[in-house]
């Protein structure tokens, strides 16, 4: 127990990083997901094709493989470009690579969640928006979006929980998140079991709080829905 207390500040510092990575990736993934869903549902063949390629490739490659490719490959790419442009050496940090990769990966999953949510919105309600003279942006923001949240939320929540857990992978490329720090602590005290139990518990706290939050959001967006 004394070792846990001794290493706890380090692990909590890592936990903060985990939460940061997760939230930043979430923002990127929601943005990409919304873009992807709208592209897939648009009449444009090019946009639909690009979004289809994105979701097919990303969902078909293991997260760890993608992350490694982006971290090492991205570093080389950035430096090659930098050399040509005459920039100074740019270091792709594990943090940046982690956030971008996870955001990029989960953008693909979000695309499918949001697409499903939008498809579930009653066509008549959307049509009513147009019939009253709304423009496409107004229809999307005022009608489609608030109506789709309820339908997309279960799958969105699922994605968020998996995303949070996926941050553990960034420790592989050297980000000092709580998993990485627990590994250090476990190694030096020779009590890996203890420290990974601590990490497991901390993950449960994050996901537990998330569950609570998601339920609140669900309630907020289910107003006007008759309970069966």
């Amino acid at each position: 127990m004394p070792e846990v207390i001794a290493y706890l500040p380090l692990i909590l510092k890592g936990m903060l990083l985990t939460v940061e990575v997760a939230l930043l990736s979430l923002i990127i993934s929601v943005f990409l997901g919304m873009l992807g869903a709208v592209a897939k549902l648009s009449n444009s063949r090019i946009a639909g094709g690009l979004a289809g390629l994105y979701t097919t490739i990303i969902r078909g490659i293991p997260d760890l493989v993608l992350m490694t490719i982006l971290f090492f490959g991205g570093q080389i790419l950035v430096n090659n470009i930098g050399e040509k442009m005459g920039w100074e050496y740019i270091d792709v940090s594990p943090f940046m690579a982690g956030v971008l990769t996870i955001g990029f990966i989960f953008g693909a999953y979000m695309t499918e969640s949001f697409r499903g949510g939008i498809l579930a919105v009653s066509h008549g309600e959307i049509e009513a928006g147009y019939a009253f003279g709304m423009n496409p942006v107004q229809v999307f923001v005022r009608i489609t979006l608030p109506a789709m949240v309820r339908h997309a939320l279960p799958s969105f929540g699922n994605n968020w929980l998996v995303l949070t857990k996926t941050t553990a992978l960034i420790s592989v490329i050297g980000l000092q998140d709580m998993v990485y720090n627990a590994g250090l602590a476990g190694g030096s005290t020779r009590k890996p079991f203890t420290f990974f139990c601590v990490v497991a518990f901390l993950f449960l706290i994050i996901t537990g709080v998330s569950d609570f939050g998601l339920r609140r959001i669900n309630k907020r967006y289910s107003v006007g829905v008759r309970k069966a």
């Binding site: 008549g124 309600e125 019939a131 003279g133 107004q138 005022r142 006007g224 008759r226």
Partner: protein
């Protein structure tokens, strides 16, 4: 008596859905304060006609004038026709309020929010003014007490009366009703028809696709009967109902008398 003012003119309107021709050359005019009932058996194209007027469907060919203004359409490279100017379509739609068979109220908004939504966002009416207008209209259709309810908690008749208030809140030049009572329980039809009758009496221009023969006969100023995408009868209710020119309408009447 002043000369009638043209509110709507439809000129040889055609609409195909793929290989199926739904409208095969429809022409008619409507003047201000006309209440026109559009009758026809299912599949005759009456809903499609209404939806071509506010461009929820793009006509395959033909012209639509709203208050003398032609809705510009052009042929795309694919052969499909599209409106030229989206803004023109939106402006015209904001003057033609539609009431749908399935109500199509926005489920995530209360009755009140449903009624102020389009006036505030499309007409850019100040919120307070839109709210006062909504309160007045909800009172009129008997929905004021339910203004904070969500559509899911209303009966069909209440939803349709809300939808009518939503349409009136646009202060439209013309009201388009697409089978407004067809999705209602029989005992709820009356409350909606009563509201519609009062609108007709105050001189609103209305185009009503309906199966309510009583409404067509007693309330409307004109009846149009469509069959297989063509206008078969067009005249005052008395002349059409008492002296139909076509066998098809006679058959239709016999079929609808219960």
């Amino acid at each position: 008596m002043t000369a009638p003012v043209e509110a709507l003119k439809v000129e040889s309107l055609y609409k195909n859905f793929g290989p199926i021709a739904v409208l095969k050359g429809i022409s008619f005019e409507a003047n201000e304060q006309d209440v026109i009932s559009i009758l026809g058996s299912s599949g005759s194209g009456k809903s499609t006609l209404l939806r071509c007027i506010n461009l929820l469907e793009t006509p395959t060919s033909g012209k639509v004038y709203v208050h003398g203004e032609l809705i510009n359409m052009r042929e795309m490279a694919s052969g499909e026709r599209r409106p030229v100017d989206r803004k023109q379509v939106e402006r015209i739609r904001s003057k033609l309020a539609m009431v749908f068979q399935q109500f199509n109220l926005w489920a995530h908004m209360t009755v009140m929010q449903n009624v102020i939504e389009a006036p505030t966002h499309v007409l850019k009416l100040p919120r307070q003014e839109a709210k006062e207008r909504a309160e007045r209209l909800l009172n009129r259709v008997g929905m004021y007490e339910h203004r904070n309810y969500y559509p899911a908690h209303l009966s069909g008749g209440q939803m349709q009366r809300t939808a009518i208030a939503r349409a009136l809140a646009m202060e439209p030049e013309m009201l388009l009703f697409d089978e407004p009572t067809s999705a209602l329980d029989p005992e709820l039809v009356g409350e909606v028809l009563k509201v519609m009758r009062s609108l007709a009496e105050e001189g609103r221009t209305m185009l009503v696709v309906t199966h309510e023969m009583g409404f067509a006969r007693d309330v409307s100023s004109r009846v149009i009967f469509l069959d297989e995408g063509l206008v078969v009868e067009d005249g005052s209710p008395d002349s059409v109902f008492d002296n139909p020119r076509s066998d098809r309408f006679r058959q239709f009447l016999t079929g609808t008398i219960k």
